[in-house]
Structure formats: structure tokens, C-alpha cells
Symmetry: C2
Subunit: 407 residues, 2 copies
Amino acid sequence: MARGSNLTRLGGFNQTVLFDAIRRAPAGISRVELVSETGLTAQTVSNIVRRLLDEGLVVEGGRVQSAVRGKPRTLVRVRPEARHALGVHVDPATLTVVLIDVAGEVRRYARRRTPQAQRPEDVVAVVADEVQRVLAASDVDPATVLGLGVAAPGPLDVVEGTLLNPPQLAGWEQVRLRADLREATGLHVLVDKDVTAAATGEMWAQDGARHSFVFCYLGSGLGAGVVIEDAVLRGVTNNIGEIGNLLVDLDGEDIGLARRGSLAATCLPQALVVRAQRRGLVTSTVAADDFGGVDEVFTEICARADAGDAGCTELLDVAARGLATGLAVMVNFLDVDRVVLGGPAWPRMSRRLLEVLPGLVQPQLVAASTPLVVEGSAVGEHVAAQGAAALVLDHFLSPRPAALVMD
Amino acid sequence: MARGSNLTRLGGFNQTVLFDAIRRAPAGISRVELVSETGLTAQTVSNIVRRLLDEGLVVEGGRVQSAVRGKPRTLVRVRPEARHALGVHVDPATLTVVLIDVAGEVRRYARRRTPQAQRPEDVVAVVADEVQRVLAASDVDPATVLGLGVAAPGPLDVVEGTLLNPPQLAGWEQVRLRADLREATGLHVLVDKDVTAAATGEMWAQDGARHSFVFCYLGSGLGAGVVIEDAVLRGVTNNIGEIGNLLVDLDGEDIGLARRGSLAATCLPQALVVRAQRRGLVTSTVAADDFGGVDEVFTEICARADAGDAGCTELLDVAARGLATGLAVMVNFLDVDRVVLGGPAWPRMSRRLLEVLPGLVQPQLVAASTPLVVEGSAVGEHVAAQGAAALVLDHFLSPRPAALVMD
């Protein structure tokens, strides 16, 4: 049953709208411009800006002379240090922790090899310890930290904040990340899927236009995040984006991992390593489930491709052809005009892939009236960790029409 | 840039929320129940119900004694004849026109073979003529008709309401359906893709729970509609749901139409007819682009399968296996827990497909915590035409949080 809205919801929503407009104008914005950009009345803008000033979220500073007449206009801008968020990305190979301010800037950063878990308690203790180190090493007032976001591979129970039995994390079963991290750190904790966190981080880093895009996440696993008109889709069980099994190559060889001819079997680092081993391109005998070892060989393959090695380039081209077909499936299905590629494996593959992908995807699009934009993440290598922190900022600070409706 | 909300938007939204709650309670609902279901205050409910009564959208009638104490409560219910909508489905084989009331009931219905167009003007004249016949033959007051919805195959320019160059409709190029039908009928006209109209019709027919589902449309073409939390997704160019090229069968034979191993090559009526011809199951030599002729042979194949013919059953099983893989791709990607199958071809295939599909899809789901619901359309064979009419009701009467935000 649809629920109604009321004045309290209206006021809260309009405050997020104004804060968002101010945040997206780092050079400052006047109240008059805020009126024209948000459609709110001058009185409403004035009242809410007063409240944001009182709460220390924005500051006044600088004036601009109006083009026409009247007194100079005072600009307001976000105070980046007013609020912060912590983010953790639990990747099978690497554990990354970031502390960002409300302008999205990284204030502290740390990474380490992901521990091989024996007991869930050990995992939580390691994560809590890293988070507290990062916060302590910064000059940030803990009272300004809105919370801790955690990005992890699925499947997850997002409501409980529990890792169920992620196939990439042996021994990490039923890890109660949210409850246990909340207890260990005292922070408000949000847990979400790595691909959803990455898509949120990408959205948070964008400028003010409305955005719909698919975020294709390439790491030890493969997944997709979906943003439709600046809202992150999560799915009914919050496990959106399982695209690894998607068939992309009718003539794909069986490489002994993932479904034959699938996106996972063509694009994952493990798949590239297996192919390189079979073709005698590398001497390594690393096993496909040794994520740290695979990561090293994968780095070598990409570096050699970038240096002009024909065999390694052909491996990346196999990945590019599969990825192009997979992206075309998603674009044809959802009718988005932009795909963003990112995740831990992406920066190493990006040079060759960005060269060939657009030409491989475009001919497979059915209804495209304009060229599809294919681009690398604007956030970069640590998009999932920054995205984990952005989950917190997004939760508390983004304007969402759905928030107007009573629970 | 995000836009704010205001009291006018708030009032309009709450009116759609209350009307929706009343519409979903065909036996009537009391003001006290409306307060508890919508979260609105008693004063707001009372004021808005007064306005709905004044506009003739709802009526009072019947009383129920409260369980506890106090005077009996008066029930309000929708007056179905208060508003109507017309819908047209332009299918390559059949043109269907319906007139529905605000309760979703079909009041008039007509169908005819789709004209083979020589000139766009002729097409528009035929459609306008059918629409006016249906309205004239009913006892409906034209003043109560909110508008005319048109469902057509893509690609479309939904903003202009123009058919671009639908591959299934030879000669139907640059048909300005919205502008020309508006001129010919004087009605408010909305044009949308057939799959989107069908998904809207399905959503409009549902009870009060929140719904997320993929609607898989099987007709002369193949497409998908997507509903996320009771909002119909349309895509950035309003051409969502192009799933025909999706690869589903690594060992699929080349049947001379559609991409080898694709969903279209396994499930479309044309594909079944070609396979039946190749296997000598039918003597017909109908061409794959003769939509009327294909439709007749397809009907025969399905009827023989239902009567126990092993060869025809195997043809439907090829379609079922392909469809199962395609549905799994969409469910894994978007994390929905329900798929609905419908469209002109569906009722003929449904008996065998509903028997085997659930068992074929479920094992391919990655993150499913509960069994996927696979079901036939609740609306039935004319879901796209009823959906076209529902586009109009949905546009004017459904509560959408996005409508709270200023344009």
C-alpha cells in the first residue's frame, strides 16, 4: 500500500536538496542561485541555509557582484570537515580502508592483505582494528564521523549486515559484520555489496546532471551495479548484479572454471591467468583460487600487453570481446547510455580495453540513438572502498524522493 | 541538479495515495482504515476524501460496525464509471482496442488484422477509426475518458510519440502516432513500447503489495518490461527491454533468423515455425516475416503439443530451455523475485512452459534465497492493449514519489 507524505518529510527532503546543491558547487553558490536551481522559494532557501549554517555543515564566504544591480551576493559552500565517513572494502585479495570528508576527498587510506579467516570473530577484529588505526592516525574529530560503510562480495543479508557464504572468501561464513563491527567500533555501520558500493561511490563523485548507468565491477569476482536517475538499485534481496554466468561467447573454450562461454570465463583475472598458462605465456603454476597469487600473474600479463606483447594483448582482447557482448546485453536490456568500468582489476586492463571496447559494443546495440559512453571509473582503483564510505554519506545526505514518503 | 518539493506537490501526491488505497479496496474502506494504511492524519484524510467525493471519483456506501465501540464507520469506494481510458495495441499481426474503467474492467473491446501500411496517414486513420468506433459503441460518457494509450513495438521516440522504424512493421516509418492521433481523436495520447505498456497493465492489476518484477513479453517480437517497487522503468530513450539478442544456447542451431543461440532464435513464434518446417512437423511453407501466416502455424504447433504430440512438445521445450536461461540472466542481474510471462504468443505456449520453466530457471539463480515466482500474466492475452489504457490511468492516478519533486 502506498504511504502518504507530510510536512516533516517535506522539510527534511528540501534540506537534503539544498545541501546537495551546495555540495555540487565547490566554488560556492548564492541563495538566489539556489532558488533558481532547486525551485524552492527564497524564504525556504533562507530558512534552510540558516539551519545548515547553525549545524556547521556550510559556511558563508566570498561575495559576487550580481550582473545587473543590487548588493553583492554572499556565497555559501560546504565545510568539508563538517562530516566524515569511513569505508572498508573486503576484497578476497586486499582489505582497503578509507576515511573521506563530506566533499568526497580521501583524508586517510590504508590497505593490507585480506586475512585468511579461521573464525568470523577474527575477521571482525582485524577489520575493526584497521578502521580504528585509520581514524586515530587522522586529525579528524571522531564526533564528525557519520558512520562506517562496508563493501563485501555477495551474497549478503544486507538487512542484518551479514556475509552469508561468499564463494570467494573461504571460511567467511555467517560473518555478522554490521552487528559485530558496530559493537567493536561504536560506529553506525552499513553493509552493502561491493558492486553497489562502487556504483554509489561513482554516483557521489559525479557532477550535477541526472545519471543512469551500469557500473561493471572487475575484481576477483565480476558484478554490476545499476544507477537509474541517481538512485542506486539494490534488488529485492540486495544482491543485484550477478552477471558472471551471462553467456557471451558461443565458441568459448572450457577453461575449468566458471560456466563455459560466460562473462566470468572470459574476463576474470583467474580466467586470464588460466589461459596464459595454457598458452605457455607464463611459467607460473598458481592455482585459480589463490587470489593473491593470481593477482600477481594478472598484473604481469597486463603489463606485458601494455608493453606490446602480442600473446598477452590477445588475452586482453578475448576479455574485451566477452565484456563487449556482456555490456551490450545490459545496455539493450536496461536502455542506459553510459557504462562505467572499475574495481580492483580494472586499472591494469584499462589501457587496452578502453581502446577496443567502444568499437566492439556499439554494433551490438539495438535501439541506440546516440553512441554509448564507455569509460573508466572517475574514482579510480579504490572505488569500492570510497563507495563504502559514500554509502554512509548517501544514506544521510542525498536527496531521495522516496524519503518523502512515510515508512 | 535535484529539485525541491512544496505544499502543492505534497497535496497532489497525498490525493493520489488516498485514491490508490481506495481503488485497491473494491469492497470499500473506512476513513479510519485509510489513516492507518497511508500514515496520513485524520484531518488530511477527511479533507481529501471530501474532495474526491466532490469530484465524483469515489462514493460513500455501506457502513461497518467497529469491533470495539463508537458509531458505525462509513465506507468509501471508487466509482468505476467516474473515469475511463482507451488503449490500443499495435501488434504486427493484430490491432487491439480496449476501453477500460478506472477499476481496470474492460468495458468494450475490438480487434482486427493490422493493416499493411502504404502511407503513415493510412495507419493513423485506421487506428483513429477503430478507437472512435469502440467509444461510440459503448455507453461511456466521452467526458470521462482521460486519454488514449498506444502500445507499439520499438524503437520509439516516446517524447514525440513517433514510431521510428520498427523492424516488424514494414512501411510503418516515422509514424507520428501521438500528434496525428491527438488531432484525429481530440484525446490526450500517450505512446509507449509494447513491453512497457504490458508491464504497466500487469502492475495496475495487482493487489496492494509492493512489486518488483520482470515482465517477459512474447509476441511477434520478444521484449522485457521492468517494474521496480511499483515504478515502471523506461530507460533513457524509453526503449527498455531489448532482450532478443541475449545468448542462451551455446549449441543453438542457425535457423536463418535472429542471432544464433539467442533468445529470439529459440522462443519466437517464427523460430518455432522454422524449426517445425525443418523437422517436417508441418507442411506449411509460410515465410518467417508473414506475421499472420506464422501466427496460424504457431497456433497449430502449440495445440498439437498440448494434445500430446512429442515433436511439437520438443519444440516448446527448446523454447522453454532458452527462455529459462534468459529469465535467469535477468533475475540474476536485477535481483527480482518474480517474472511474469505474457503477450499475444504466451497463452498458446503457457501450458507446457509453466510446467517446465520453474525447474529449469531455479538451478541457474545465483543469490536466490527463496524460490523465484514464475507465472503467467494476470491480465491475459490482451495485456498490451489493457496496459496501453493503464498507461493513461497510471499517468494521472498513480502515486509516484518522483511526482513530489518540482519539474
